[in-house]
């Protein structure tokens, strides 16, 4: 088992720079808090980074891979958040129980949302889905006796005693979730067919149906998976923050997922993580203090950076970097480092 893992590492991770960077990145996330003292505020930002990374990746799976561009992803986030908060408030259940239930309810919401969405495509679908979180937001504010209205539900227990423990729980959940979603969307996989089918649905739904794929079932599946992981993210978010407020449902939350994914690179699992890391984490680390020039003009600087970067890398930062450091072998379609002259498997000339 261990030997196989090592062999895999040596032959399919080491020669591909992108995969190596991903492994080093995750290892760093796990190790750095152990060796470096990190102030509590930074720890909290890192915890939120994990949660938002999961949220953004789930949007990428639904909208990037399957092509069902969802402008209301905050619906699943908010349902997961409010569900676990309400269960705690009225039944006194602990986060260990409420978070999974919140995630399941969010999955169910994803399936229900899909039914009206099945008839629509393209921009009509995007804008229909945009309406759902806003309608739920209206309901939350209308029934303020139950949901706490604008102030939200306060006093939720944290998922662990210390900030570091919370960070590790969120990190582990995020890593597992991202691995599952990466496997599910891997078009080259021999064992899981969903990746290939999601790609097929995005590229040409009619052709996919003509090839005997039950596209409705797979669209439902994509909505359910997107809902599940966004729901977990939402439930974790409110327990780390301590408050479940309407901010989990607002349009900004939905568009934030779009911004992160588009910035990092759509239709790639690592793109959203890079997007969150640059646009959320880096910004928060730079923005501390509030009196510096950057602190005051955070939003302005962010939007100008986004505009400038998009002009030069319209496919997203991560995809742009990947295309610079990796090259696909024209003969055997194996990924190689860009600086190799010959393919590492079949020896074909790469230039």
């Amino acid at each position: 088992m261990l030997r196989r893992l090592l062999k895999n590492f040596r032959f399919s991770v080491l020669p591909v720079p992108g995969r190596l960077i991903a492994v080093i990145f995750f290892a760093a996330l796990f190790i750095i808090p152990l060796i470096l003292p990190i102030p509590p505020y930074h720890m909290l930002v890192l915890t939120f980074t994990c949660i938002f990374a999961m949220f953004a990746v789930s949007w990428d799976l639904l909208s990037g891979y399957t092509g069902q561009v969802n402008f209301g992803h905050a619906l699943f986030f908010g349902v997961g958040a409010y569900c676990s908060a309400l269960l705690h408030k009225y039944l006194g259940w602990q986060p260990g129980v409420t978070i999974p239930i919140g995630a399941i309810v969010a999955t169910f919401t994803g399936v229900v949302t899909c039914f009206p969405a099945l008839r629509l495509r393209g921009p009509y679908l995007s804008l229909l889905t945009m309406a759902f979180p806003l309608m739920l937001l209206g309901m939350v504010i209308a029934f303020k006796d139950i949901t706490g209205g604008e102030y939200g539900i306060m006093g939720l227990p944290p998922i662990a005693a210390t900030g570091t423990a919370q960070y590790y729980i969120c990190l582990i959940v995020m890593t597992v979730a991202v691995l599952i979603m990466w496997k599910l969307t891997d078009a080259g996989s021999k064992y899981v067919r969903t990746g290939l089918i999601f790609h097929a649905i995005r590229e040409d739904e009619i052709a996919a149906r003509a090839s005997g794929i039950n596209t409705i079932r797979y669209k439902l599946l994509a909505f359910a998976i997107g809902g599940l992981f966004a729901g977990i993210a939402g439930a974790l978010y409110v327990h780390v923050l301590g408050i479940a407020g309407p901010s989990t449902l607002v349009m900004t939350m939905s568009f934030q997922a779009v911004i992160w994914v588009a910035f990092g690179g759509i239709v790639s699992i690592y793109g959203p993580i890079v997007g969150v890391l640059i646009l959320y984490t880096l910004l928060h680390f730079l923005g501390i203090g509030g009196q510096t020039f950057i602190g005051k003009n955070q939003m302005l600087i962010m939007s100008i950076v986004v505009i400038l970067i998009l002009l030069f890398m319209p496919e997203g930062v991560a995809v742009w970097v990947r295309n610079k450091i990796e090259r696909e072998c024209p003969r055997c379609k194996l990924t190689n480092a860009a600086w190799r002259k010959e393919c590492r498997a079949c020896g074909a000339n790469l230039h």
Partner: protein, 292 residues
């Protein structure tokens, strides 16, 4: 009776402004398939322009309107030419670009005027009795502007050569190009028209609505709802959708004053119902997927 009179006036007013915004949004979507989330940011800029020129610099109405209209339209053209046109092939990049653009405008206005609630001076004073209610003349003027611009837009799109080339490009850019229409130029002109429509809406509501840096978000949601309701790419649909949504909003506000924050919810509900019954909106066509 006064209640109904007021309802009609308010619906016409709001519907007209929404209609101007939505038709511009729909025009640029139908042409270039750009979902321009910065569309209402131009509307916000125009409102600020009116405020700045009239209140802070004390200019006359004519100068202020002219400079705001030209300035905002020029800004829209520049944004299209140097930012949007370059990433037009990547749909998600366009989305991100327009959001970033709108946020940048918002932040610049925040820096320049801070987060105060402002209002531009009215262009004319006094009020008139219509339908048993007294209506400020400013509202009537806004209604007049909206009506004139609507008719002008309709004439432009149906009667002129430019309008024909715009509609041809929207239907099939490749064939339009074969017929000798310069597609990039037509797209640029359409973007100019769309931004000018947003600017006119901003100019006409600056004295009526409060002007603040985030004033572009509530109309943006409504504009998207209207455009979907009426059918993407259909100008007629946008105007009819605008009046339907304005009526729904005002009905909620008039008959449930305590639940006026639910206006948006009911407007969205109207859109969802229309979409479930007619997946392409009231007057829209389902865009054929591009198959290669």
């Amino acid at each position: 009776m006064p209640l109904i009179g007021r309802l009609i006036i308010q619906t016409l007013l709001k519907g007209g402004v929404y209609g101007l915004l939505a038709s511009g949004f729909s025009l640029i979507f139908g042409m270039a398939h750009i979902i321009n989330l910065a569309h209402t940011a131009f509307f916000m800029l125009a409102a600020y322009g009116m405020y700045y020129f009239m209140r802070e610099l004390g200019w006359g109405a004519a100068q202020a309107i002219a400079l705001t209209l030209v300035g905002v339209t020029l800004l829209g053209l520049l944004a299209y030419r140097f930012l949007l046109d370059r990433v037009r092939q990547h749909i998600v990049a366009v989305l991100l670009m327009t959001i970033a653009l709108a946020l940048a405008f918002q932040e610049v206005m925040l820096l320049a005027f801070s987060a105060h609630f402002l209002s531009a001076p009215t262009l004319i004073t006094g009020s008139t009795h219509i339908l048993g209610v007294s209506v400020p003349n400013q509202q009537l003027l806004t209604l007049g502007i909206v009506a004139v611009v609507m008719v002008m837009l309709w004439l432009l799109l149906t009667k002129t050569k430019l309008g024909v080339s715009i509609r041809a490009t929207a239907q099939d850019a490749e064939v339009a190009s074969l017929m000798g229409i310069s597609v990039p130029r037509t797209l640029l002109i359409t973007m100019g028209i769309a931004t000018a429509l947003a600017a006119v809406a901003g100019i006409s509501v600056a004295p009526l609505w409060t002007v603040y840096p985030e004033m572009w978000t509530p109309p943006l949601v409504m504009v998207m709802v209207i455009v979907i309701l009426g059918g993407l790419g259909s100008t007629k649909g946008s105007f009819i959708g605008a009046f339907i949504i304005a009526l729904v909003e005002n009905l909620v506000i008039f008959f449930m004053p305590s639940g006026s924050y639910l206006a948006t919810v009911f407007a969205l509900l109207a859109m969802v119902i229309v979409l479930v019954v007619r997946p392409a909106g009231l007057f829209g066509t389902i865009f054929e997927e591009e198959r290669l």
